[in-house]
Amino acid sequence: MSILIKGLNKVYPNGNHALKDVDLEIPTGMFGLLGPNGAGKSTLMRILVALMEPTSGKVDIFGYDLHKQRKEIRRILGYLPQDFRFFAKYKTYEFLDYAARLSGMNSHKQRKQAVDAMLENVGLFDVRERYANKLSGGMKRRLGIAQALIHEPKVIIVDEPTTGLDPEERIRFRNLLSEVSKNDVTIILSTHIVGDISSTCKCMALMNKGEVSFYGSPEDMLKRTEGKVWRIQVNSDELHEVDKRYPVISTIPSGAGWEVQVVADEITGYQAEAYPPNLEHAYVYYMENLNARGNY
């Protein structure tokens, strides 16, 4: 395991218990951290990149203790924060060069080559002279991942990287991460967009209210949801009834009525047809179950 998290707690000064006894083992490769907003993902990310100290618990990254050996950890770490929009007055290549320098790339020649290659890689070479502030949202994200990768880190932590991106940019971004994940690195991808995980991660954790609700592969999660997704044909009057009784995933107009997809252990009172689940269905099913258990 590349990252071991044990008994991690974070209580903010305002009393908010953001992480509650989080135990995680994160293997090499792409690891997805899924959860709704406020689940504690960003807190966990910020602790992992040594921007924040946990209240208690232990984190071990590639054998380095996060509490004692931050320098070593920072050396092998690449980080793209959730918000990555406002830049100081640096040009695109300067931003990357600065990041490279601070990561210990002292040779000017080597650094220049690396920066150019990285800019090429993320498709920003043509705008290298442009001030970073003037880049589009997608370009900024790409610059963000570029700075996280410039020093070839062993652990890459990306927090909500696709939020706000258009579908094309989002796919491009996913592909980029997938490409990087082939190089024997650990990528922790924190997101609340299920699609990000389903397409890239072999292992994932689901977080809700500061706790890990699920740990395993996306396939495991899907398996546990098989037979729990239903398709129901309803008229307009019934639609309201169904919406009240079951978590509705989608509502599609069909003939004189509606075709409604819901997740539930079983359906009573309606003509329901079992439907093969995807990760999004699984996520909704899990969140519904957790909420139903009063896991607040």
Binding site: L51, M52, K71, Y79, D83, R85, Y90, A99, R101
Partner: protein, 1103 residues
């Protein structure tokens, strides 16, 4: 290595941000443009005046450039430096740098260094600009080291400190605006309010710290400068350390913050220690001075000798001197142990009398020599003192209060250290103030003036200077084969001076006097400019000498006159007992380095200016004439009594013009080194006669106009409350000392002048002095002799000096002149009445200017008289003149009258055809009637005059307006910036019985008022008048609609009345006629189209 690399990385990108910020770009551009223009004005411009201080001393060019830049960058730096913390917080992309493996220290130091190096680059650009102009300007050398030194002493500590402090504050306060405001306030406070107080301790910008570097001697206070700068440099480093330890990013290791906290504490300790050392060295010096004075007090009454003959043999060492002083003295009283004084920095090795070693006791500066036998008063004894060491400057000027010692010595922005002596391998200057050779008795004692009795001695001085140095002293220098020099002044002197440096001489001779200028090698800035008038210079110099001799009726007693250039830091204070400062020594003036403080010595520019000014006057002058005018302008400095003027503002609209004595005024050469008047009781006896001879009676009119009260008037008001003795010791009134002593001197001799006539009495004083050339005269004996000559008891008035002075006051009538023609002969009869309305006797000084013949004043004794007026006595002075008298000046001398001196011009003369019936003389008349029957006048000085309450001002305006509190009721008023509150001022143009005053206020909405209440004796019609004085504003501002707005209340009615000032004349102007039964109340409001309103006097006249 990674430490340096990381710092470099952070700093590189921080610098980029700074350079890209508009704020910095604008500041840099402004700084470059302004300082380029400033350097051009200073060094190149044909029209720019001043700046000689910078050109004369080349190190001043980087000094002033960096000082100016520093002030600006200190403000900009607080904003820009603290910006990175705000940026880090605001910009979400900053976090990606926080997760890099660099340490907090590397990050913070990198950021600071990034800021610092951009500012330093700006400093280098500015220095390069000033260097460029220095190269382009002709005749200015470059002081390369100064560029480096000032860069390290001014810019670096300031920037490190202010950047460190601002980042630290930003970290604590977490608010850039608040940090900025706080620091801006701090800068303002240190710059404008604290300034040089507390020994420059808070002067982090080195704005007030004396840092002038002489071309002759370099710095004289380098240790003090380094200590001072260390305070701020290390404090800045400490703040950076604290910032690192408190920086809001998890350190690379959990305990990484502690070493930086310890480091910061260490730096803060060093800074504190430097501060302590800075203060301690000054306080310690002051303690030493107190101790020296106390030691003098202890020995002041012990037996002393008078030294008749000095044989001094001095050998200059690199930082010390070896000396033997052989003295032949006469015992002033019978004793076996005699007291001498020598600078405490000099160690006595041996004292001998012939071959016999004498025992002695040393107590700091004092050494008491036991002769081993009783010397009877008048016995002669010889002794030889061998001593070595350096000069302790703390021993000098023990009489000068610490506040004055601590006062800055600056010209424009250049602050110089004050040094009283120099003893270095390149230069030596030892004046008598240092006690560089043994002198009998003690130095200054604040308990008894007994210490002060200086005597005239014969001097023989042998000096062996260090190689390459030319020694100078009193007498002609004779060089021996062994490299030593002999000086043997042909006259007895009270003390001598020793100077040695790389001197070059310019010498001319005229009328058996050798005139020399001794300048330091390389400091000849004048000879080439005066080549064309080389032959004329002796005449110009002689003219100066003759002018002084004629003005003061004293002759120049020496065969030589030398102007000797001394380092810029050399400073002298005026002593209470004499006008002679240390810069004036027998036969020489110790003139400040290249005259750096005097723009008239910017010879090349002055010659050009003279031509330009002549053109403006419509004249054309050639180079020679311009050179002569310039030369005269330079040497006029030696004739001036007053030094430079200081212009300060107290409350808004109130101004104060002060001046100090001109140290280079040559009067002491004519008087002080030749005569010596002493008194065991009155240490200022010499000064009494000096000021009396200088006729120090009047203040300049324009100066009075600015201040609203003259210095003599201030002195009078002080003398009424305090005794003369108390005022002599009052440090706060030191600037008025000449006036206080001058008033007393004039009052002392006035009865004798009345008896003998002013001019005759003065002649007696001169001849008495002449008979005592190079001899001591005791004041009491002098007064007795003068008393005998004038048949007055002058001396008996001395005990009055121990009491406050009662001030009489006078009512003065307008002089009247009648032209009487009788049988073809015209005679002008002049009458003037003066009444002493007080309970005290007094004396007035009457000057009459007849025709236009100014010189008559010296010939006709009637034009210049002092007249006694007893308590409640009124006199009419009648005099007959061939020519029409033009003007009468009455100086009420020691009096309460304001203005103290009234100039009364005589306008239209009456004409009469008759024989002359009037007889010349002073006639006692019945009490002088003031005003006509039925007239009632209420003046602003009366109890029936009331002012409205002052408008409440906010704290900030109060703080901004108020800079100085004046203890005098009356202040100077400027019409273009009048005061915001009713402010009393005096002027001869105002109405007043004794005090011609008025209250002035800035014009306003009409809320501020002045009210006169006039009760009338009987019901009836009354004409109401207001006393108009059309001051400067009416002369300059030609508004036809300027009018005063009055509200007249009478018989329970209120009426508005207006007085058009343009149409009004000076004096009483009618406002209107009112039927009044009981009281009429006149209220003047501040609503006026002029800038100010003056409330003076109103009068009612019964119809």
């Amino acid at each position: 290595m990674s430490f340096i690399n990381n710092i470099q990385s952070v700093s590189k990108y921080e610098s980029k941000l700074l350079i890209r910020s508009w704020f910095f770009k604008v500041f840099s551009l402004l700084a470059i443009v302004i300082l380029t223009f400033f350097n051009w004005m200073m060094l190149m411009s044909e029209d720019g005046g001043g700046f000689w201080a910078a050109k004369a001393i080349p190190s001043n060019i980087p000094y002033i450039n960096l000082l100016l830049l520093n002030t600006g960058q200190a403000i900009i730096a607080i904003f820009l430096a603290s910006d990175f913390l705000k940026r880090d917080k605001k910009l979400d992309t900053s976090e990606v740098f926080y997760v890099r493996p660099l340490s907090n220290a590397e990050y913070v130091i990198g950021k600071i260094w990034g800021n610092l190096r951009v500012f330093l680059l700006l400093n280098l650009i500015i220095m390069a600009i000033s260097l460029l102009f220095t190269f382009m300007a002709s005749g200015i050398t470059v002081d390369w080291s100064a560029y480096l030194i000032y860069f390290f002493l001014i810019s670096i500590p300031t920037l490190v400190y202010i950047i460190g402090l601002s980042i630290f504050l930003m970290l604590i306060l977490k608010n850039q605006a608040l940090t900025f405001i706080l620091l801006l306030g701090y800068i303002g406070l240190t710059l404008f309010y604290i300034s040089d107080k507390y020994y420059y301790l808070f002067d982090y910008m080195a704005y007030y710290l004396p840092m002038l570097k002489s071309t002759i001697i370099g710095f004289t206070n380098l240790e003090a400068i380094l200590t001072h700068r260390a305070i701020y440099f290390f404090a800045g480093i400490a703040f950076i350390g604290i910032t690192i330890s408190l920086f809001r990013r998890l350190p690379n290791a959990s305990r990484n913050n502690y070493p930086w906290l310890i480091f910061a504490v260490c730096m803060l300790t060093i800074s504190g220690l430097a501060g302590y050392r800075h203060i301690h060295s000054i306080v310690e010096k002051e303690k030493m001075r107190t101790m020296y004075t106390q030691i003098n007090n202890t020995y002041v009454h012990t037996p002393k000798m008078v030294i008749d003959q000095y044989d001094l043999s001095i050998e200059q060492q690199p930082a010390s001197l070896h000396a033997t002083a052989t003295m032949k003295g006469i015992a002033l009283e019978t004793a076996s142990v005699f007291t001498f004084c020598l600078n405490p920095g000099l160690d006595i090795e041996e004292i001998k009398s012939g071959d016999k070693t004498l025992s002695f006791e040393r107590d700091q500066q004092i050494f008491r020599v036991a002769f081993g036998r009783q010397l009877i008063k008048g016995d002669t004894a010889s002794l030889s003192v061998r001593y070595t060491g350096h000069i302790n400057n703390a021993f000098c000027y023990l009489d000068i209060p610490a506040e004055i010692i601590q006062k800055e010595y600056r010209s424009a922005l250049f602050n110089a250290d004050k040094a009283y002596s120099f003893l270095t391998p390149e230069y030596m200057l030892l004046t008598p103030e240092t006690y560089w050779y043994p002198r009998p008795g003690t130095a200054y004692s604040n308990e008894s003036p007994d210490w002060q009795q200086s005597y005239f001695s014969r001097f023989h001085l042998q000096v062996t200077p260090l190689p390459g140095l030319q020694p100078l002293s009193q007498g002609e220098a004779v060089k021996n084969e062994d490299g030593s020099y002999i000086f043997h002044p042909e006259y007895p002197a009270q003390a001598i001076t020793l100077i040695a440096g790389k001197y070059k001489q310019q010498r001319i001779e005229k009328d058996n006097i050798a005139y020399s200028v001794w300048h330091i090698e390389g400091n000849d800035f004048y000879t080439s400019s005066f080549d064309s008038i080389r032959d004329t210079i002796p005449t110009l110099v002689t003219h100066l000498k003759e002018n002084l001799e004629r003005t003061y009726k004293l002759t120049y007693p020496f065969n030589r006159f030398s102007v000797v250039e001394v380092p810029a830091q050399f400073y002298s204070y005026p002593h209470a007992w004499s006008q002679a400062q240390e810069v004036i020594q027998p036969e020489m003036v110790l003139f400040t380095e290249k005259a750096w403080r005097y723009d008239q010595f910017d010879v090349k520019r002055q010659i050009k200016n003279q031509k330009k000014w002549a053109k403006w006057r419509g004249q054309e002058i050639n180079d020679e004439e311009a050179a002569i005018l310039t030369f005269n302008g330079m040497i006029r400095l030696f004739e001036r009594i007053e030094g430079n003027y200081n212009y300060t503002s107290a409350n808004r609209g109130e101004y104060n013009l002060t001046t100090q004595a001109n140290p280079y005024f040559l009067f002491p050469l004519l008087y002080n080194f030749r005569y010596n008047i002493y008194s065991p009781e009155w240490p200022i006896s010499n000064r009494i006669v000096e000021l009396y001879l200088q006729n120090k009676e009047d203040d300049n009119n324009w100066q009075r106009e600015v201040n609203g009260i003259s210095n003599n008037e201030k002195a009078n008001l002080l003398l009424e409350k305090q005794t003369f003795k108390e005022l002599l010791a009052d440090v706060s009134q030191r600037d008025l000392l000449n006036n206080i002593v001058g008033i007393k001197a004039n009052a002392l001799f006035a009865p004798a002048e009345i008896q003998l006539g002013v001019n005759r009495f003065r002649d007696s004083v001169y001849s008495l002095l002449e008979r005592n050339t190079f001899r001591n005269i005791q004041l009491e004996n002098l007064l007795d002799t003068l008393g005998q000559i004038s048949q007055t008891d002058i001396r008996s008035t001395l005990p009055e000096w121990e009491k406050p002075t009662p001030l009489p006051y006078y009512i003065i009538s307008q002089p009247e002149v009648t032209k009487v023609s009788h049988r073809g002969q015209e005679t002008f009869v002049m009458k003037i009445q003066v009444a002493n309305d007080s309970d005290y006797d007094g004396i007035i000084h009457l000057h009459i200017q007849e025709g236009n013949r100014q010189d008559m004043q010296t010939i006709d004794p009637r034009t210049n008289r002092k007249i006694a007026l007893g308590a409640h006595q009124s006199k009419e002075f009648v005099s007959l003149w061939e020519n029409a008298p033009r003007e009468v000046t009455i100086n009420t001398m020691t009096s309460k009258n304001l203005p103290n001196r009234m100039v009364l011009p005589i306008g239209n003369n009456k004409q009469d055809r008759r024989s002359i019936t009037e007889k010349e003389g002073d006639y006692v008349i019945p009490k002088l009637q003031e005003g006509l029957w039925g007239e009632i006048i209420v003046d602003n000085e009366d109890s029936l005059f009331f002012l409205s309450e002052t408008a409440i001002m906010g704290l900030l305006p109060q703080w901004l307006e108020k800079t100085e509190d004046t203890s005098f009721k009356y202040a100077g008023i400027h019409w273009w910036r009048p005061p915001l509150q009713w402010t009393a001022t005096t002027n001869a143009g105002y109405y007043g019985k004794y005090v011609r005053s008025a209250y002035v206020i800035k014009s306003g909405s009409g809320k501020q008022t002045a009210t006169w209440k006039i009760p009338v004796p009987t019901e009836g019609s009354y004409e109401l008048y207001y006393y108009v004085y059309k001051g400067n504003e009416m002369r300059q501002n030609n508004r036809s609609d300027a009018e005063y707005h009055f509200r007249i209340r009478y018989n329970e009615e209120t009426e508005d009345a207006y007085l058009n000032l343009r149409r009004a004349n000076d004096g009483w102007e009618q406002i209107g006629v009112y039927y009044v039964s009981d009281t009429i109340s006149v209220t003047l409001t501040d609503a006026c189209k002029l800038r100010s309103v003056s409330a003076d006097a109103v009068k009612v006249v019964k119809r």
